[in-house]
Each structure stands twice: as C-alpha cells, then as structure tokens.
C-alpha cells in the first residue's frame, strides 16, 4: 500500500514539473512572416527589409516581449526568399499559411505584391508590403497595408525641384518592362507632363546587363534629362555609367527606389555621376533619422544596411506591432486591421506620419512620412532636403 502511495506521489510531482515546464503555459509566441527578394537584383531591398524586422523584433524581445492583452509575447520570424518574383512571393505566402503565420512584413517590389495578395485574402493574412504598383493596395485587399507611398505622393515635389535646378524641358523615363517598372514609369511620366516637361518612357527586359544599345536609342531622342525610375540599383548604376561614357551631360533622375550609394560605387565616384536627383525614402540629413544607425548597431551588434528603405520598414514593423498590441490578439487579423486604420502614426526616427491612399488606391491603408529629395550637382553631393508628405486625401 505504501509503495502504491509513493508511486502516486511521484507521479503527481512529475506531472506538476512537466506542466510547469510546458511551452503552452510559458510561451506566447507571435510569429511574423518576412517575405522579400533576399537574392537576385533587388537583394539590397530585400535584405534591408529583413534587417529592419530583425532589429524591431530583437529590440522588442530584449525589452521583455510584446504586450498582447495580459501576456507578453516573444516574437519570432519566418524569413522566406522570393527572388523578387510573383511566383516566389505566392509560394512563400503559402508556406507561411502552412506554418500558421498570420502577419507578414514585406514583400518589396510589385511582382511580389501581385503574387502574395490573393493568398493573403484567402487566408485572412495581414500583409504590410511595399510596392510602387498602381494597385499595390485596394479595397479588394482589405488586409493589405502599404509601408510607404509611391510616386503619386512624392514625385511631384521632386520634379518641381529638379526642373527649377536643372531647367529640364524633356525627359526619357527608363524602367524594366514588368509591373515593377511600368507602373512607376507611367506615373513618373504623368508627373513630368503635369509640370510642363515633355516626357516619354522606354522599357528594357529584366536581366539586361549591358545598356549601351538602349542608351543609344534614348540619346537619339536628345532629351534634357534621363530618369532611371524603379530600375534595380545595379541596373541604374550601369545606365548612369554608360550614359556618361556616351557623352550625356544632362541631369539623371531616379524617381523610384533610392540606391544612390550603389550607383556612385558602380560609376566609380560622385564626380563621375555628374548632375543627379532622386527620391530618398527618408530625410537622411536629419539627426533624428541618423540616430537609427547608432541604435541599430547597439541592438544588433553590426552596422545597419546602407539602403534607407530599412528605416521605413522599421517604422512599418513598429506600427504593426503597436496595432497587434492595442488589438490584444495575435490571431484575429481583422481586429488588428481595424485598430491599424485608426492608429496614430508617429515614429521615433521619422516623426509624425499619417494614413493616406484613399484618393489613389481607394483605401486609406498607406503610411506616409516626411521624405527626402537628394541632389548631386556638378559632381558634389548636397544634403538631403526634408519634405513633408502631402496628404492626397
């Protein structure tokens, strides 16, 4: 009898110990999907996204986790490479669905956005993406949010500044011939035309490595300026280099993803770039923005990636976590989406932003922050000028 009691007590003790150590009791885990082109021509943008999410996640976890209702949740990530393709993004989204992931940060470029949206809709997945496509977000995708605005918000201010500085009367906008290029180039062309500049577009096959022939075609039009729009950073670098080698002396613009550092490296020097103007994701000259680089190094123990899209992704990831925390759920994405739509946008590094997108996309789910206008004049880099985003709604 005594022996039976002993066994009973030992069994009860074991159950108690196991229950205390059980993961279901101890862990509230929020798993974020991170989807982007981590390899290929747009790897710079995809890796900036990944670094941003890693930074926000580590900072939050180091502080004890994310407060969700009465629990503090540790955040983990599931990172998937799309190679910047629609099919890659769709495959990644399906994989995340199978892992039970409800919230996704990324992807970055338009073909990826096209690939992920139908799967997000079918599975009630909340996606915070970036894309300059004309249909990046929309009422038919209520769970899709936009990390930063496209050229419809910022191109006008940059074209006005470039026209005033370089007296541009005609421009050729050149971009890849997929949605990642055509949607941006067509908006850029419209903005140039609205500002009284004669504008035409030229497209190239994604994967082109030598642009000498296309540049010959562009220069035959004798434009005052050439705009590399949303071409991949390395493509834009080769184009700038070959334009200068071909004797083009006019200004070169970039109303697309910022990648000036890489362009300068490919050309060889700032002097070699000549006159250049571009959309900068953030006002990098602002000391508050600069502070992110110190914070990143302190938290991650390594320097931040050079591409400034990282800063926008940090802001977007933080907004998403704030939304999840305020909604008090890590499973009900509809509730989180409702909270996000009313959540004030105020970032430690970027300052006050706002939700916009109603007039352009038909849905107010796009975050806009102050952005920057960059210029190289006569081979000299000027400080990036801070510009307040204008609410189109």
């Amino acid at each position: 009898m005594l022996s039976f009691k002993r066994y009973l007590l030992a069994g009860a003790a074991a159950v108690t110990v196991l229950a205390a150590a059980s993961p279901s009791r101890a862990a509230c885990e929020l798993k974020l999907g991170v989807v982007g082109g981590l390899s290929g021509a747009t790897a710079q943008w995809g890796n900036a996204l990944k670094a941003a999410v890693d930074f926000v996640v580590k900072k939050t976890n180091d502080a004890g986790g994310l407060q969700v209702g009465s629990e503090r949740c540790q955040i983990t990530t599931s990172v998937l490479d799309t190679k910047a393709t629609a099919e890659g993004a769709a495959a990644a989204a399906n994989q995340l669905v199978s892992q039970g992931v409800k919230f996704v940060v990324g992807p970055v470029v338009s073909p990826e956005a096209t690939g992920i949206k139908p799967i997000a809709v079918r599975n009630n997945m909340l996606v915070f993406l970036n894309s300059y496509a004309k249909n990046a977000i929309g009422p038919q995708w209520p769970m899709v949010f936009h990390e930063g605005p496209g050229p419809s918000v910022w191109a006008d201010a940059i074209v006005k500044a470039a026209k005033a500085k370089f007296n541009i009367k005609s421009v050729v906008v050149v971009a890849p011939n997929d949605q990642g290029g055509t949607d941006i180039a067509s908006v850029d062309v419209d903005v140039y035309k609205r500002n009284g500049i004669e504008a035409t577009d030229e497209y190239y096959q994604r994967g082109t490595t030598n642009f000498a022939a296309i540049i010959t075609r562009i220069l035959a039009k004798n434009p005052d300026a050439v705009d590399t729009a949303s071409s991949a950073p390395s493509d834009a670098g080769i184009m700038v280099k070959q334009l200068r080698q071909a004797g083009f002396k006019g200004p070169i613009g970039r109303l697309g993803g910022a990648a000036t550092d890489e362009i300068v490296r490919i050309v060889g020097s700032v002097e070699g770039v000549g006159d250049f103007y571009w959309y900068e994701n953030v006002a990098t000259s602002d000391p508050k923005v600069q502070a992110i680089y110190d914070d990143f190094k302190q938290v991650m123990g390594a320097p931040a990636p050079e591409n400034t899209t990282m800063i926008l992704w940090v802001a977007a990831s933080q907004v998403l976590l704030n939304g999840i925390s305020k909604a008090g759920t890590i499973t009900d994405t509809k509730k989180v989406a409702e909270v996000l739509r009313t959540l004030p946008v105020d970032d430690k590094y970027l300052g006050k932003g706002f939700w916009t997108g109603k007039s352009f996309f038909g849905i107010k789910q796009e975050i806009a922050f102050p952005f920057g206008i960059g210029m190289i004049i006569g081979g000299k880099m000027l400080p990036v000028q801070r510009v307040e985003a204008v609410d189109q709604d």
């Binding site: 080698q245 890489e262 490296r265």
Partner: protein, 288 residues
C-alpha cells in the same frame, strides 16, 4: 546613320563577350555532354576573385585577372574531378549537381560580400570621341582581350594534341578511349579550361558593367541561348551565334526598344530552331 554605326560597334563588343562565355559552355557540353548550370557562377566568381585581389590585397588589375582565371579554372578542375566525374554519364544528375553548385556559389558570394555592388573599376577610363561617337576605351581593351582569348581557344582546340584529344573524346568517347586517350585525365582539364574562360570573362567584364552576386543569372541564360542557336557542342557555331546575338540585340534594342528587341532575339532563335533543329552548326546526335 549615327545610331546604325553605334549599334554595330556595340553589337560586336557584346558578341565578343558572349563568345568567350559561350565557348566555355559549349566546350563542356561538347566534350563531356554536361550542361553546366554553374557557368554563370564561375563568371561571378571570376569577378569577385579579381575584385578581392585588387581591393583587399592591392594586386594590380592585370595580375588579378590572371589569378581569377587560374582560380576559377582550378575550382572547375576540382569540381569535375571529385564530383562531376563520378556521375558524368548521368545527364540529369550532372544537371542537378551543376545547378546546386551555382546556387551554392551565388549564395556564398551574397553572404560573404553582401547584396550591394562593390566599387570595382576598370583601371583605364575615358572615351575616344570620333565625330559624334563616344567609344569607351575600356570597351576597346576588353574587346581586344576577348578576341585574343577566342583565338587562343581555337589554337588550343585545333593546333595542339590536347585539343585534338578533347575533340576526339567529343566525337566518340569509346573509340577515343580505345585509342589510349584517358577521359579521367582530360575531362577535368577541359572543365577547368571552360570554367577559367567564364572566370576570365567575369574578371574582365564586371568592372565595366557591375559586380553583384546575381549577375550570373543572365549570363547562364545568354550562354544557353547562344549555344542552342549555334548548335550544342559546336565551337564555331557558338562563336558565330555569339556575334549574331550581340548584333541582333544591339540593333533591335536601338530600333525597336528594349522590350521588342528582346522579343526579336527570341523570335530569331525560334525561327532558326524550326528550320535547323540542331542549331546553325550543330550535329544531329552527340557522338560521345
């Protein structure tokens, strides 16, 4: 008229670079019967090895190019000797093996050097201005070296015992082996030469365009297209097809634009393959 002459010069320049790449690709297929999906990886490796020697070790560019050629050749030699050779008769297995090597190489470069293009400049800059034309001097130098390298490959293949042995193995491996030629000795050497050519092209061309982990993707696609057009395994066919592709690409891009120009190239390849399914100079069936 200016555009016409300019497109012709660009086409010849592109053709020479393509020829150097396609020669290596077609050599491996012609001699070993292996479709080397890692060819673009050796191009990238050539660029990064030369960049590493120049930027990190201060080696003069010319020496760095030679070292990059030798290093990529050595990697190719060892890869064939220890991995490909064991399954050389299995075409599907070699295809997967070379594809795996390419993914390993490109991801390795991405991890080691990051996704951004490094600053890697050709040591000579400036353009020759002839009337309205601007001819970058670096392009002229690269074109000259490419033509010299192509001539060297021809001499190697048609004027040396080594080349004759490789061609004999390509024609009929069993008969050549019965005559005393040793595939296990010659195949790794052929693979090394071909990979060295890709590495040489990478070391020469990436400083005048750009160097990044992904630049091998279009190289593989272009090489494949050229050797199919020229005839898989045909050295002469690959060379002629490379210049043809370069010229068509240049003229169609100038006169039709970047999108329609690319389409024109694929239509041309399609027509050639309908008329001559084995390519311009291809054989009906590989003998080896």
């Amino acid at each position: 008229m200016n555009e016409f002459i300019s497109a012709g010069l660009i086409g010849v320049s592109l053709g020479a670079q393509y020829a150097l790449l396609a020669l290596g690709f077609t050599l491996i297929f012609g001699i070993l019967g292996v479709v080397n999906f890692a060819h673009g990886g050796f191009y990238v490796a050539g660029g990064y090895i030369a960049y590493g020697f120049v930027s990190h070790l201060g080696v003069p560019y010319v020496i760095a190019v030679l070292l990059a050629t030798l290093a990529t050749g050595a990697i190719g030699y060892l890869f064939e000797l220890f991995l490909v050779e064991r399954i050389v008769e299995d075409h599907l297995a070699t295809l997967m093996l070379t594809l795996g090597l390419y993914l390993t190489m490109s991801t390795g470069v991405l991890v080691a050097f990051g996704p951004e293009s490094p600053q890697f400049q050709f040591p000579i800059s400036g353009s020759l201005q002839i009337g309205k034309f601007h001819l970058p001097i670096e392009n002229i130098v690269v074109l000259s070296i490419c033509l010299l390298a192509i001539a060297t490959v021809y001499l190697l293949m048609y004027k040396t015992d080594f080349g004759r042995a490789l061609r004999a193995l390509a024609d009929d491996r069993q008969v050549a082996a019965a005559q005393g030629l040793r595939p296990r000795l010659l195949f790794p050497l052929a693979f090394g030469v071909a990979c060295g050519l890709a590495g040489l092209t990478g070391a020469l061309v990436t400083p005048i365009l750009s160097l990044a982990p992904h630049v091998g993707d279009p190289v593989l696609a272009t090489s494949f297209l050229i050797v199919i057009l020229g005839g898989l395994g045909s050295i002469g066919g690959a060379t002629i097809a490379a210049f043809l592709v370069g010229l068509v690409e240049a003229y169609s891009s100038v006169y039709l634009g970047g999108s329609k120009g690319a389409l024109a190239l694929f239509v041309l390849v399609l027509i050639v393959l309908v008329v001559r399914p084995s390519g311009l100079f291809g054989r009906e069936v590989r003998g080896a």
